[in-house]
Symmetry: C2
Subunit: 425 residues, 2 copies
């Protein structure tokens, strides 16, 4: 792995893929076709782009049963336990509506309401992961969203992966359509004969899906546009090179554009990890992908001391951060920008991908500076609640009217004053 100093951190700076003009034009055509011709357009694009000739889009009860019969019962038990852990963690994020009262009768508050309907995009092919189903669906379920719809591009045989269908069923989603790409996003945003529109669309996809989500944003809400995955390991000389190399490679195997970076105060560890990555790479089934990723987007940043290393981590603002130092909790307060923080030797990053409970949908490309993991708040909205009694009104009406006139808004002032002398209500 290449070894650099903190001065050259910008080498790891990444921006989100904005797509080409041609891709944008294609997406706009698909969106417009689905808006006009609805199901017919979705079926036609599914035939053209996915090679599947479907008569209907919805997954049937028989397909769910068939999927369940294909999975090993031990695997199903693990999926169920993971789903339960994810539910338990997200339940702790749930917030109540609240209000506050004043002796003059004022009541001010914040009402929390789940979204009505949410669409979850699940990518097709080898990227169709049961864990992605859980991570995108469970926060919405825990938030209290009544209608959750999944879409996913079918195989040429017109099927979805058994793991995805079983995960959906475990999570509690039965409304699934076999549609992918921009056509699925359009169907969710605008609605078709068989797919009612939703209020928000979440879930990762290829560049066409990302561009389509950007286009429909405003008509519906969307989650963030995810870039390739990233890990930064912050380690001192107490860390084990073997563990770190394995964790770096677990990100590298995702995608040739994934980024795996070690930030360390130990030159010895840097050298050991570099060798260990080579050694472990040799036997990986996804060696080609991981090797390209390590070569193009991987590296080791050797710092003079831990303070400099922490500063480097904050400048990178990684999606995943592991802290493998003598006392990782001591450093937690110094970490400002990271999507998920894994502490200590046994907290290998894949534990969070699958099982521990926190969400694996995390901010990438440095957006941890201002973004959060997917969470229950993403599936509710707030409404302010304001009640002024006659007493609170009379105490404040003149001040409010005066403020309105200071801003030159006379009708605002009069709206307040028109209540004067009227009865209690």
């Amino acid at each position: 792995m290449k070894i650099i100093t903190p001065d050259n951190l910008d080498a790891f700076k990444r921006t989100v893929d904005g797509g080409t003009e041609e891709q944008r034009a294609t997406v706009r055509t698909i969106l417009s076709d689905v808006k006009k011709q609805k199901d017919q357009a979705v079926l036609s694009y599914t035939k053209q782009l996915d090679g599947a000739d479907l008569s209907s889009l919805a997954v049937s009860e028989e397909e769910f049963q068939e999927a369940r019969s294909q999975l090993d019962s031990e695997d199903i038990a693990i999926l169920e336990e993971a789903c339960a852990n994810i539910r338990a963690f997200h339940l702790k994020q749930v917030r109540n509506s609240w209000f506050d009262t004043d002796e003059d009768g004022t009541i001010l508050g914040q009402k929390i309401t789940p979204l009505d309907a949410v669409g979850v995009y699940v990518p097709g092919g080898t990227a169709a992961y049961p864990s992605s189903v859980f991570m995108n669906v469970m926060p919405a379920i825990v938030a209290g969203v009544e209608r959750i719809v999944m879409v996913s591009p079918p195989s040429e045989e017109g099927t979805l992966p058994a793991g995805v269908l079983v995960a959906a069923e475990i999570a509690g989603v039965k409304e699934i359509y076999k549609a992918g790409g921009a056509q699925a996003v359009a169907a969710l945003a605008y609605g078709t004969e068989s797919i009612q529109p939703v209020d928000k669309i979440v879930g990762p996809g290829n560049v066409y899906v990302a561009l389509a989500k950007r286009e429909v944003f405003g008509d519906v809400d969307i989650d963030m546009i995810a870039g390739p995955s990233e890990i930064v390991v912050l380690a001192d000389d107490t860390a084990r090179a073997e563990d770190i190399a394995a964790d770096l490679l677990s990100q590298a195997e995702h995608d040739a554009r994934s980024s795996s970076v070690l930030v360390t105060s130990s030159k010895t560890l840097a050298d050991e990890v570099s060798l260990e990555v080579e050694r472990q790479l040799a036997t990986l089934p996804r060696k080609a992908i991981a090797e390209a990723s390590v070569k193009d987007y991987g590296g080791i940043v050797v710092c003079d001391n831990l303070a400099q290393a922490i500063d480097a981590v904050n400048r990178l603002g990684p999606e995943h951060l592991e802290i493998q130092t003598e006392d990782p909790f001591m450093l937690l307060g110094k970490i400002k920008h990271a999507g998920a923080i894994f502490l200590g030797r046994f907290s290998s990053e894949p534990i969070g991908d699958y099982f521990a409970g926190p969400n694996h949908v995390l901010p990438t490309s440095g957006t941890a500076r201002f973004s959060s993991p997917l969470n229950v708040d993403d599936f509710v909205k707030k409404s302010s609640v304001i009640y002024y009694s006659k007493t609170s009104y009379e105490k404040n009406a003149d001040k409010i009217a005066r403020f309105a006139r200071l801003e030159g808004l006379e009708a605002h002032a009069r709206a307040v004053e028109t209540r004067k002398g009227s009865d209690e209500s």
Copy 2:
């Protein structure tokens, strides 16, 4: 006012202005110029577009003092009280980091961290409102954001309105630059010699500001793109036509594209309000604006009963909702989509614009279906925290590795397994 039935609600449906191709191109040019030539480009556009020939962008200490001397002390006291109320309400939104422990040693949590730096756009001219300063700045201050920067287009004399400067000072913001339009957004997103870049940009502006925010989104975070303001009043026959008309007009005076709608179960009230709006319009200083707004975007929806009226309100999903019925609290639970809800006769909407405490930056154009008032959560981000002890690791490692292999990700499985047999940490 025009009177319609709930079947024709779509007449009030609005979408956010996306700008013309020419406007988009202008914005892209400005962004690119500022990215390259920094302060020089900002100063040059400020001269060209605002007519102000500035030597430096920053507001000086003398300008703050001069502004304060221009305001009446009673006005300043009202501004201070409003600011204190806004602070008090937003303090109730603050959330703590939390963690949860398990007897096997697992620690899972969510760390809350304020954003490092936020830029607030304050529109120029007659739309330069002290209340907007408070509403955009206070949630960021309460969230703990260390650096808050304001930008606002100067007058031809190179000044900013005294009310805006005094409000900024009361709120606690002293870093203000005299720059507006796309050039100010670019400076905040990319940085210049005199303006350090920020992580998020909030605040309303004209179509150029909105388009610029859309373009820089991803490099930095932005708040929602605000459309023209809206009010829906839900009323039964216990409401006073005079109050309702005044409240409808207080929105209508904002902008010729503002929307004011009464939804009622009472045909009598509908007729009374219609007449009362005409009567009150006659003497308004901003009559031309309010009249155009009422004519083009105003109306009264007469429903058969309250249940139908509530359904109409939820379909509209208004920015502001007033409930002026016999027992408004009884209906609160039925309201699903509204930015702010004002309950009862004395809770006139301008009370929320200026003084009560909840934010007046609210979702418009039906986006209350999925968006919230500006709030403290918009200025913090979350990081997941995961600690597995040796015990929790040993209990779950095999299951996690098996899940990883089910998804075909061998390096993930090996990363978990590599810890086996190693020591406690």
